[in-house]
Symmetry: C2
Amino acid sequence: MTIRLATQPYKGARDFYPADMRLRQYWSTQSQKVVEAFGYEPYDGPVLERSEIFEAKTSEEIVSEQTYRFTDRGGRDVVIRPEMTPTFARMVAAKSGELIYPLRWYAFPNLLRYERPQKGRLREHWQLNCDLVAPKIIPEYELEMFRLIIALMQTFGAKPTDYVIRYNHRGLSDALFKNAYRLNKGQRKEVFYLLDRADKTEPDVLKKMAKDISFSVFEKIHDHLKSSQNPGEIFQDVQSETSFEDFNTLSQIVSEQPCIKFDPSIVRGFEYYTGLVFEVVDTHPDNRRAILGGGRYDNLISNFSKQSLQGIGFGWGDVTFRDFLNIHGLVPDEITKPTKTVSLLASRDVLPFVLQVQNQLQEAGISCRLLLSESDKMFKSGLKNALKHLAKYMIIIGPDEAGSQKLVLKTIQTREDKILSVTDCIKVLQTG
Amino acid sequence: MTIRLATQPYKGARDFYPADMRLRQYWSTQSQKVVEAFGYEPYDGPVLERSEIFEAKTSEEIVSEQTYRFTDRGGRDVVIRPEMTPTFARMVAAKSGELIYPLRWYAFPNLLRYERPQKGRLREHWQLNCDLVAPKIIPEYELEMFRLIIALMQTFGAKPTDYVIRYNHRGLSDALFKNAYRLNKGQRKEVFYLLDRADKTEPDVLKKMAKDISFSVFEKIHDHLKSSQNPGEIFQDVQSETSFEDFNTLSQIVSEQPCIKFDPSIVRGFEYYTGLVFEVVDTHPDNRRAILGGGRYDNLISNFSKQSLQGIGFGWGDVTFRDFLNIHGLVPDEITKPTKTVSLLASRDVLPFVLQVQNQLQEAGISCRLLLSESDKMFKSGLKNALKHLAKYMIIIGPDEAGSQKLVLKTIQTREDKILSVTDCIKVLQTG
């Protein structure tokens, strides 16, 4: 008895069949165009990193519970990257003296987290990462993150009402919890933790997560934050020693933009965020979740380098991208269907002519897949095959056609056949 | 004292800085165009797989010594993919009933092997994989692999004399070892193992690898194979029960091609290869190594599926790609340099006009990076910055320009300034 192996992928990971892969390519190709128009340059790092680079700064939950961490054959403690920013910071630090600022880079890494697979969250996903680094990041460069996001959403056909960019300053929230609520450092950290989970966790589960502060205090804070519509209201309550001047400037610049909203309940999960944090929330009633998130990190690069460099960036996952496009009906038909490839059904006996035709078509920019048949009965299956591939046309070459250096161009829908020279066939295909 | 983390990447893995990443993008973008012209469709699989899918069929050396294998937090035995074909076979098997044949797919996975890092071999690399699957693969479809390779090499500027496609049939070699040399199964497996390493291993190291056969017998076989110039000579010695009719057909079709050569010493390392095997060898005296390899696998998919499907494919790594292009001087200058991006140096005080200019440039297809300055002394560093970015032009907008809705277009090389309207500036940039 033959024992067959299971065909499903590893739990929480995905197989990308061509239709899925074309959608991912659409995402990466179009995104690349948008970010390169702003001067962003491509980079990539290794899928494995030494564990230490994630230990201090990513998030306790991710590192201790969600990383794929193991010891390699040489005894090194390694992690499959759960996110890209620490790798980015390491790479910038390694050449910090010779790089040019503001530095603008983007990447499309695959990332792994050991999470319970759920909607919009899988163990493996791909992520567009855009980051800007400079000795001093001014509010106008923070604004660029929002402008990038808006340009990306526009490229994929999203209307300004389909999403909201929500932003906050972690220092402002921290000052509020400290000065207005008199919370100590541990309690403030817990409030950040709870806030980051509040929208995606059932209230009774969230309640159990509260340990250092009473859940009723957390609820009071949460209500306070949710009812604050502009930074001014929070400033009033904060009476902080910090002035938040830059954040004020940014808030004023974006105040007229309907799709950008201040929301002091946004804190994001990464512990390395030091200032501005933001996320894009889908406004569709059936997909009210963050699809993209980012923030400002001013101390991350100094883990690796003496040079003082500030950073800001965001990550957009391919799973939330796909869910967003699906729910708003924004997946273009032609993306998931290979309509432009022509099937060339031909007899094996006339191979040299067939290959010549394929070459000519390819040189004219026409994709062309070969279906070689040994007999006429192959023809029917060839036609069925072309239909499944959703080709508009099919080319047929048998001994007669090869003899006269012609071919039959069949329009699949009408079953109409035309006998043409290769040149004429190319003309039809290029205009049809 | 601050303890700083090391900035180098994990051993044997690479950081892709923008110039390296652009080269990798050039490789993948151009390759994609070539293979799509033959009707190949994109796919991808997970970077983690259950270990069992590699256990039987990949290669003993790779699985037992070179995989990144560990137990996940749920107790599953997993492997970071060392190669793509088993994933491909699993995916095809999972939908074998609904897929259309011949199936043609391509992918660009990142793969990891725990090897001693050396030239052309690193622990992590990216690989173009092209595969064709059908119920019965005819020699003309095997030929398509060679045509794909030639088209790929052509796209990157390689001359036909820069490389040779060497091919063989594993069954033919096996029959020769069995019938002419009277080797048993274990000995034949060892000869395959030694042959695969002969070109890249020092003779005395190779000698130590011989266990089931004497090294002098191996050397005799090796000399025999190296001196055989066409399949006919081997057939004579084999007197096999198998006819190798299809292989004969393929050999005849390719016999006129100067860059395709029969070489019975080519066996390739993967144990799942059942018939045709091939590799591309760089002919440059300083880089005489296989840069791409592939073969026919007729039993791999049946590990997962009842349906009988034959497969053929190859993998081309980004490291050997880069080495090949470098040694033949084929890296295009413009690939590694972001020449087309314009730097826009502007004063923060006139932000609305600056953003409007950037939008207009982007809409006209011109990439444009912002350099915002708070004072005039920023100008010098901005110009230096633009020079480092190798921009041909720089745009400067200060309060005067914003007031008159104009801008200064500086030609970096000549330092010549022109005061232009945005529309006129776009015209210059589009034609310059």
